[in-house]
Amino acid sequence: MAPVRRETLPVRHADDVLRVRQLVRSWTLACKFSLVDQTKLVTAASEIARNTVIYGGGGELVVEALEERGRHGIRLSFSDRGPGIPDVEQALRDGFTTGTGLGLGLGGARRLVNEFAIETQPGAGTTVRLTRWR
């Protein structure tokens, strides 16, 4: 399974979160995702992008269009060299609090995509990979 196209975007400032949304939106349009699937992936991307900026100290996004056994999909890889996530299980469980809690949004983002992978080491940064198939 070889990625067919890819693009990289720096994710360092709050404005970049908007750029991430726009980029992922245009890729989902190009890959002919349904409106609901577009919305889910862009929303998931927004969550992780924000994490990358705020908790990861900035990083980058790599977008790839995938084709595997006839099905098409998009993979988003967010990586940063920040402090890492000490307790991933806990972070995935921390849904949202409706008030002022932190809520990393990881658990929610995971529910919006088909494949979700996270590599993180305290002190060595984090990479989150989201994949959605058409």
Partner: protein
């Protein structure tokens, strides 16, 4: 920096979010609204999100914060115009907005605000034993 306009309509404040908001703009909106509710003594806050293609957890929390703030200031919050794809995504995301009422559009939103305010005043009157103000 841009500002999101806040209109005053029938004793309510109406905000129509038409742009993809970055975090700073969202925070500014929260502050502006709080200030204006106090200034105008509005009983209702209506937020029109019919132009929004994405509502993520940050925007969701913003809406919850606005509703919490409004409640403290004796105003109800109604969000109108949520798109189907956005609604489906929010449910999947697991984000709930308990303090937020919803309506299909601005017209119904205003009617809802009127109903809720009337109900609230009746309850307050009953509790304080002074009748409907």
């Amino acid at each position: 920096m841009e500002q999101i306009p806040i209109l005053k309509v029938e004793g309510c404040l109406l905000v129509s979010i038409q742009v993809d908001m970055h975090d700073q703009l969202a925070m500014a909106l929260q502050d502006d609204l709080t200030r204006r509710v106090v200034e105008t003594r509005a009983r209702g806050v209506m937020i029109d999100i019919s132009s929004l293609e994405i509502v993520d957890s940050f925007i969701g929390r913003m809406l919850n914060n606005i509703a919490a703030m409004a409640r403290v200031l004796d105003a109800v919050t109604v969000v109108v115009g949520m798109r189907p794809a956005v609604a489906i995504t929010l449910v999947e995301l697991g984000l709930t907005m308990p303090g937020v009422h919803t309506a299909l559009d601005v017209d119904r939103g205003l009617r809802l605000i009127r109903t809720l305010v009337a109900q609230a005043d009746e309850e307050t009157g009953a509790r304080l034993g002074t009748g409907t103000p």
